[in-house]
């Protein structure tokens, strides 16, 4: 018998499996679950984009592209970033098309982090940064963003986390799960700390099209002196409702992008060709469709936030992404208990805040990637659940 403990990489074995596994298992035994658990749009990919993908297949565009991605796509990405976020990237040397934002994050961390390097990760946040850092031998340094700061990263927190070993700051805003957004003045404070340091920002802006503040999303790379120390990660999944196409991109200084591209070249070769053709169309013709989806998300967002506050689960206004992050402290339950009981007693699936880091205790993540009717039914059940707890 082979002893797998001898052949497996102990660093990989040490990675904790996702904390929501047990909820999957419970939900799988039930057939009437109403979920508010998913982190992907419910809208179909706009038909123009699907048609462009189909047309590329019909024209037999089914070969590898260059490692960095189709030149036409990189040019469109460059124009898009300029027109939306006022950041300028050379399509030839500063943009890499990746398999979703996920691959971009992975390759960026691997290109920068080596044994003993510290990576500052604000939490609650998306779950991938910590394990990828650990796999590179890096040391995750967690900053817990606070509800009273609207889950923004503050200058003070950053300063106290930085050491002479700090290599990377992950900047996951707009934030899954908290909905927090860093506005220009918030980013200025962060930039001020970083300008004279050899620290690279990996700015995960995958939700950049989904902000509900008065002013549009600001990329930290657009601030003075920051482009040279920032890798911007973005993609098509959330903004264009293209999750299954697996397409994203990383942009940054060419010295870094050259190294990231090497990792991409050997691990991936190139992002899916059909998806790249579809994405060109997305950037060329879908501004209006995107705006329509944003409006709909915003209606649902308001419906959900009011709903939670009415139920008595205090919910701050989430200004970005497509999640509400209400506090469940008033129920006296832990996030895990709340979610497990809600699933068992009312067949509603939501994600405990703790799935996104210890700082998520006392909160639940609720997605509004669902129709208003679906949201209202779920809120009704959650309301009944909370009422029953009081008895």
């Amino acid at each position: 018998m082979i002893d797998y403990s001898l052949v497996l990489n102990p660093d990989v074995c040490e990675i904790k499996p996702s904390g929501i596994r047990k909820f999957f298992d419970i939900a799988a035994t039930m057939d009437d679950v109403i979920s508010l658990g998913v982190g992907e749009p419910d809208f179909p990919t706009p038909w123009q984009i699907r048609a462009a993908g189909i047309s590329s297949l019909e024209r037999s565009k089914t070969k590898y592209t260059s490692n960095s991605g189709l030149e036409a796509l990189r040019e469109e990405i460059s124009k898009y970033l300029d027109r939306k976020y006022n950041t300028k990237y050379d399509p030839k040397s500063e943009i890499l098309v990746t398999v979703g934002g996920s691959e971009a994050i992975d390759a960026a961390i691997r290109a920068l982090v080596t044994k003993g390097d510290e990576v500052i990760i604000p939490q609650p946040s998306y779950v991938c940064y910590e394990p990828i850092t650990a796999l590179s031998g890096g040391i995750p340094v967690i900053i817990e963003t606070k509800a009273q700061d609207n889950f923004k990263l503050t200058k003070k927190q950053l300063l106290s986390a930085i050491s002479d070993k700090t290599k990377v700051l992950i900047l996951p805003f707009p934030c899954n799960p908290t909905g927090a957004v860093m506005e220009r003045e918030d980013l200025e404070e962060i930039a001020e700390v970083l300008r004279d340091k050899n620290i690279i920002v990996i700015s995960d802006e995958i939700y950049s099209e989904l902000t509900f503040t008065k002013k549009p999303h600001v990329s930290i790379a657009s601030l003075d002196g920051m482009k040279e120390r920032t890798i911007t990660v973005n993609g098509f999944s959330k903004s264009f409702s293209m999750t299954g196409w697996r397409l994203g991109f990383a942009c940054g200084p060419k010295e870094i992008m050259q190294q990231i591209t090497k990792i991409h070249q050997f691990a991936i070769m190139c992002a899916p060709t059909t998806s790249q053709y579809a994405a060109i169309e997305a950037l060329r013709s879908c501004d209006e469709v995107v705006k329509e989806m944003q409006l709909e998300y915003n209606r649902r967002r308001r419906l959900m936030v009011s709903g939670f506050n009415r139920i008595g689960l205090s919910c701050r206004e989430p200004f970005g992404a497509f999640y509400a992050f209400p506090s469940i402290e008033s129920t006296g339950l832990s996030s895990d208990e709340f979610c497990e009981r809600l699933l068992k007693e009312k067949a509603v699936a939501v994600v405990p805040g703790t799935a996104f880091g210890k700082g998520g205790e006392g909160f639940i993540r609720v997605s509004y990637c669902y129709s208003a009717e679906h949201i209202l039914e779920a809120l009704k059940r959650i309301g009944e659940f909370v009422e029953n707890l009081k008895k």
């Binding site: 939900a27 658990g37 998913v38 779950v127 649902r300 419906l303 709903g307 996104f356 208003a372």
Partner: protein
């Protein structure tokens, strides 16, 4: 905001004023006032239910009738369109561009009843020169609502 309110109501007429107010970022009173105004102005004509009649026992039969019409001097199509609209069997009347003029949806108990209605009531109207009757075989979408079940949410219940 009015057009957004109409859009939401056309999607679901049973949203409460408070739900509409949340979605439109306003208050209930404003929503109620706007709805009253729109009703008064005749913009909102009524609130109906989307029904998949195929799931009901002995559903009615529908047909789309294409009518070619010679418009009357001075009256255009109004006269004949309103005359046709007055029948309770008639669900929809549109004046359309293209090969024919009036697009009429007729509903009755049976194919024979529809045929009889067209032959006895519509065809004899003076200004109608030709009729084409297309029976509806199956409905897939009605008033923006998909009537088929295969369109289920196939996303996982938990996805981070």
């Amino acid at each position: 905001m009015k057009s957004e309110l109409l859009k939401l109501l056309s999607r679901n007429a049973r949203y409460t004023a408070s739900q509409l107010a949340d979605m439109l970022a306003t208050d209930e009173k404003t929503v109620n006032d706007m709805m009253k105004d729109l009703e008064k102005q005749g913009v909102i004509k009524g609130y109906k239910t989307v029904i998949d009649w195929e799931r009901v026992e002995n559903p009615d039969v529908s047909a789309i009738i294409e009518l070619n019409v010679v418009p009357k001097a001075g009256l255009g199509f109004e006269d004949v369109a309103e005359k046709i609209a007055a029948y309770s069997e008639v669900e929809t009347v549109y004046l359309v561009s293209g090969d024919y003029d009036l697009h009429v949806v007729v509903k009755a108990k049976s194919l024979q009843d529809v045929a009889k209605f067209v032959a006895r009531e519509l065809a004899p109207i003076d200004s109608i020169t030709a009729t084409t009757t297309n029976f509806v075989m199956r409905r897939y979408k009605e008033m923006d609502v998909k009537l088929y079940d295969s369109d289920r949410d196939d996303r996982g219940d938990f996805l981070l």
